[in-house]
């Protein structure tokens, strides 16, 4: 997914001179083509994420569209106040890109697991939070972000994620909820975000579960009308699944929006919503991504 994103960003940079890529000394075998083709618009800021985020805000204030890129917690939690104050408050044109969503770097332990980032970033005003579910969505969000003026968080997987969409190319708008699999007669819908999308799809197919599947590539903002339509269509309710803490993740965002819709009379019957997410704990054992998903019960 990260390679699909960076390759598309490279394509965008070819006709958009404002695109700059700043890395925190990470991205081996991913960012080199960008660095070689656009040495003047590629900066390795070193292992110094606070300066990377603040500096990116300043660079953006001179007219650039600046992408900062590193692993999981480093470009997000490590420099959260710079993201809040320097980037989001000033509506600086900075895209915060993290790789290794959820347990992608599972065997390295909790220090490298990105399991609280959606929550931290989505509470910050002015931030759009993108959680692409496969390489197709990652490419679409690279294009969208290159043409979007303002702060954005883009949460990528790592490498080797399966493609979930049948279409070779998607044209996403901010807030879109994207159907992945639909079958006549299904009364329940699964909503997945991030790189667990393909796993959810595989489980539905393998176990022949009677669920439709939607991808949620934008945790913030969510398109209220789309959510309203989905709720109306599935009388047995929704299941949300994400590789993130339950608190303040995608499932939380859906429930918050449903609550608002229900209070405002936008939803006739409040649906049953089952939220599958990490149950407020650091995973206690070593494991690869699939193993840790099993340990934490991240399956339908």
């Amino acid at each position: 997914m990260r390679t699909a994103f960076i390759n598309q960003l490279l394509e965008e940079a070819r006709h958009n001179e404002r695109v700059c890529l700043v890395v925190g000394d990470l991205g081996y075998h991913v960012v080199e083509p960008f660095a070689e083709e656009f040495p003047d618009r590629f900066i390795n800021a070193g292992i110094a994420e606070q300066n990377m985020a603040g500096m990116a805000a300043g660079l953006a204030m001179t007219g650039y569209n600046v992408y900062i890129y590193s692993i999981g917690s480093f470009p997000t939690l490590r420099c959260l106040e710079q993201i809040r104050n320097d980037i989001a408050y000033h509506k600086a044109n900075v895209k915060v890109v993290s790789v290794g969503a959820g347990y992608a770097y599972g065997s390295l332990g909790a220090t490298h697991q990105a399991t609280e980032d959606i929550g931290a970033l989505r509470t910050i005003p002015n931030m759009v939070v993108c959680t692409p579910g496969d390489p197709i969505e990652a490419r679409a969000i690279a294009t969208l972000s290159a043409n979007y003026e303002g702060p954005m968080y883009i949460r990528l997987g790592k490498a080797g994620e399966k493609i979930a969409h049948a279409e070779a190319k998607l044209d996403l708008k901010i807030g879109d909820i994207v159907p992945v699999m639909q079958k006549e007669g299904n009364a329940k819908a699964v909503m997945a975000c991030g790189n667990i999308l393909a796993s959810a799809k595989q489980q539905i197919e393998t176990e022949r579960l009677p669920y439709d599947l939607y991808s949620v590539p934008f945790v913030k903002p969510l398109n209220m009308k789309s959510l309203q339509d989905i709720v109306a269509r599935y009388p047995d309710g929704l299941i949300t699944i994400e590789e993130h803490q339950r608190s303040c993740g995608m499932g939380s965002a859906i429930v918050e929006q449903l609550n608002d819709l229900y209070a405002a009379g936008g939803v006739a019957n409040y649906p049953k919503v089952k939220c599958i997410a990490i149950p407020d704990e650091f995973v206690g054992v070593v494991g690869n991504q699939n193993y840790l998903r099993e340990v934490e019960g991240l399956k339908l």
Binding site: I43, N51, G54, M55, G58, Y64, Q82, D86, Y89, H90
Partner: protein, 275 residues
């Protein structure tokens, strides 16, 4: 190289004291903190806004304007006062609105006001952003300078040292860091809280072009800026040794005025001393 006549030095001194007087009046009116830190940097502001920064470009928000970032945003009262002095802010509006409910005149530096580039006061933010602006100027072929004023207590923040390494590595010689070294921070003298001396030597070791001066001396500030502007290849820093509370006898090096606004009688005496 610019040399100021003694009459002009006197004028700048008077401008700095007018800014001090207005800053204290603002703090007094709404009982806001950080009066003493606003006074220590007033001479530096007077020099920058009267001799170096093209105010018309700031007013026009020109992409070519010099940028000034006050990283020690808690001391914004004297910045606002200086912006009023040069006509970027309206003095009456400032007096009416400072720290008042429903206005945009926050009691820490805020980008919601004309002429203020960055909202600050959470410390250690200004210099990294200034680095980005300076880098952006170089990348886009613009000639503007970026000035960033920090407090010496603020230099405790690790983000500043990340930025100091970055600026030297990228040879940001359009970046001017000014350290208002008034030697006090929230709970005491900087040498007792977290000593960073010798500050100038540390910055030289980081490969910065350093001038160390009396930061309350107009002529010394101008000479330091002129010296730095005549050299290239390294980011530039003035270690400005100042006096917290400068210009008001009972406020000088008095920790009380890190917190307290002057009371009625204190303001009266302060304005008399600054007149």
């Amino acid at each position: 190289m610019k040399e100021l006549k003694s009459e002009r030095i006197d004028e700048l001194h008077a401008i700095a004291n007018r800014a001090r007087a207005l800053a204290l009046t603002l703090a007094h009116n709404v009982n806001e903190s950080h009066s003493a830190g606003a006074l220590s940097m007033a001479d530096i502001l007077a020099v920058l806004y009267s001799e170096y920064i093209d105010v018309e470009k700031v007013k026009a928000e020109s992409p070519e304007r010099d940028r000034f970032i006050l990283s020690k945003g808690h001391c914004c009262a004297s910045l606002y006062a200086m912006l009023a002095e040069v006509g970027i802010l309206d003095r009456d509006e400032l007096l009416k609105n400072f720290a008042q409910n429903g206005t945009h005149y926050y009691a820490h530096a805020t980008h919601t006001l004309p002429g203020v580039e960055l909202s600050t006061g959470s410390l250690g933010h200004g210099l990294p952003v200034a680095c980005g602006m300076a880098l952006g100027a170089k990348k886009s072929g613009k000639n503007f300078k970026v000035y960033c004023l920090v407090g010496d207590g603020e230099m405790d923040e690790g983000s500043n040292w990340e930025a100091i390494a970055f600026a030297a590595h990228h040879r940001l010689d359009n970046l001017y860091l000014i350290i208002d070294k008034n030697q006090m921070q929230a709970l005491g003298d900087t040498k007792d809280v977290l000593s960073l001396d010798p500050m100038a030597d540390k910055l030289r070791a980081f490969n910065w072009d350093v001038e160390e001066i009396d930061g309350n001396n107009i002529e010394a500030i101008v000479n330091a800026l002129e010296n730095l502007m005549n050299r290239s290849g390294k980011p530039k820093v003035i270690v400005a040794n100042t006096i917290k509370g400068k210009g008001v006898s009972f406020m000088e090096h008095n920790l009380k005025f890190h917190y307290s606004a002057p009371k009625d009688d204190e303001l009266k005496q302060a304005l008399e001393e600054l007149a």
